[in-house]
């Protein structure tokens, strides 16, 4: 018990003194997760929107696939990206394995189905009367689509934030493709795993506290968006 309390005290001291190693790890984590989220949103939001607005052959299959991929095991994604980027893999010539770029790729793949699927759900739950109202007021099909997207804005933002939650907490895939190299590919979750293995709990706990705080902030924001979106239902 004493060692746990001591670990917490040392952890708070690291946070309070803005330890350089700690800051570096936090910065890299936010950078990798942020870029991955931007990429998955750039692809996922339009994809989810199109699937939500348009009817086309195979749409049901794509929706099922997206929903299935929401629960993708990170280690499987890690393995898949590893095979793609390894020297003998089809993208091996790019030399991206064990770099932050490989971690971004793995996290983008993990976040994409969440963003796209939740974005699709947000679009299809907009009352069809909204689209009809837009038409009766003289909207073109494009203006109608924009109106529906605007109505789904809180749901779409919830999807993006849920994607951020996924990538921030991820460890398996980035450990495989990033290699957990100190000062280069070491992020919060991989550091926690490593330091725990080594028995150095203070840094692991400090990062755990920060990760939990970030997770709390993400969930509070998500809750606020969902609450705001509920007014429209």
């Amino acid at each position: 018990m004493d060692s746990i309390i001591e670990g917490f005290l040392k952890a708070f001291s690291l946070i309070y003194n803005l330890n350089q190693e700690l800051l570096g790890i936090i910065f890299l984590s936010l950078k990798v997760s942020g870029i991955a989220l931007i990429i998955s949103s750039i692809i996922g939001v339009p994809a989810g929107t199109i699937i939500g607005l348009r009817k086309f052959p195979g749409r049901g299959f794509i929706i099922t696939l997206l929903n299935t991929f929401m629960g993708l095991p990170p280690v499987v994604v890690g393995l898949f990206v590893y095979l793609l980027l390894s020297r003998s893999g089809p993208l091996g010539f790019m030399g991206l394995l064990y770099t932050p770029s490989a971690m971004v790729a793995a996290q983008s793949i993990l976040a994409f189905p969440i963003v796209a699927s939740l974005c699709h759900s947000a679009i299809v739950t907009v009352d069809p009367i909204i689209g009809q109202a837009a038409i009766t007021l003289g909207a073109t099909p494009y203006q109608k689509a924009i109106t529906i997207i605007k109505e789904a804005r809180y749901g779409i933002l919830s999807g993006i934030i849920a994607g951020l939650g996924r990538v921030m907490a991820e460890v398996g895939a980035i450990l495989i493709v990033g290699g957990n190299i100190a000062g280069y590919t070491r992020v919060m979750t991989t550091t926690i795993a490593l330091e725990t293995d080594k028995g150095n709990f203070e840094l692991a706990l400090a990062l755990g506290i920060i990760l939990l705080t970030l997770s709390l902030i993400i969930n509070v924001v998500l809750h606020l968006f969902q609450k705001k979106g509920m007014i429209s239902e």
């Binding site: 003289g138 909207a139 109505e151």
Partner: protein, 242 residues
């Protein structure tokens, strides 16, 4: 030159069940036309087809301006407006809801402000222009729906049961608004209602639909005082259960 609506031999089926059968009518002059009839007689479908929200299976809906038939679908849509029974307000302020039709027509900000204020003044909701539309009561929602439709100054305004499920006070406000719109704008209003008293108060002409057909039409006086069809007589005397 205002739009004239002519409907020729339109029919519509839903899942093989006929809803409209060979309906024809010409709305020749401006004024308030009221569509009446029992539930399931096809009134709303007829209105939605006239308002270009749905296509008929057979027959034609033509809008003409003078001697020219207006064929461009988008141009037509922007000269008419439909208020649905469920309004479908957008999750934003009352002002932005009413401004929607003007914004998509890329009007100038100042003109939008002026016209929206006038429309909200007309429906008695100017004091609520900054409120979130989804927090309004049913009566207020209906009035915003009407303001949103008239702000674009349509030449033909379609109203599908504008006072359904409203209390007498809200109904009176809506009816007064409809009368004012007609008075100020000289447009054609085509309205579906079940309310015989409302039809007597507002209508200039009445069309009666039964089992997907227009079985009678005429001026308000003729329709209510001298019904030509036994089914119309039963309906207006409350003998037809609907």
């Amino acid at each position: 030159m205002s739009l004239r609506l002519t409907v020729s031999n339109i029919s519509k089926n839903y899942n093989g069940k006929p809803v409209l059968r060979d309906c024809s009518f010409s709305f020749d002059s401006s004024g308030i036309y009221v569509l009446m009839g029992p539930n399931g007689s096809g009134k709303s479908t007829f209105l939605r087809i006239c308002a270009l929200l749905e296509c008929p299976d057979t027959g034609e809906v033509n809008f003409s301006s003078g001697s020219n038939i207006v064929r461009k679908d988008m141009e037509l849509r922007r000269r008419i407006s439909l208020v649905l029974p469920k309004i479908g307000l957008f999750n934003t302020t009352v002002f932005k809801n009413v401004a929607y039709g003007l914004k998509i027509r890329k009007m100038k900000k100042q003109e939008i402000e002026e016209r929206v204020n006038n429309a909200l003044e007309l429906v008695g909701l100017i004091h609520k222009k900054s409120h979130t539309a989804l927090t309004l009561s049913s009566g207020e929602t209906q009035r915003v729906g009407i303001a949103r439709a008239i702000v674009i100054e349509p030449e033909v305004l379609f109203l599908d049961e504008p006072t359904a499920s409203l209390d007498p006070h809200s109904t009176t406000i809506i009816e007064e608004t409809i009368s004012k719109i007609k008075e100020y704008n000289r447009l054609t209003i085509i309205m579906v209602t079940h309310n015989i008293f409302q039809a007597k108060r507002l209508a200039e002409s009445v069309l009666f639909m039964y089992e997907g057909r227009i079985i009678d039409h005429g001026s308000k006086m003729d329709f209510f005082e001298k019904p030509r069809d036994e089914r119309v007589y039963k309906f207006i005397t409350g003998q037809m259960v609907y």
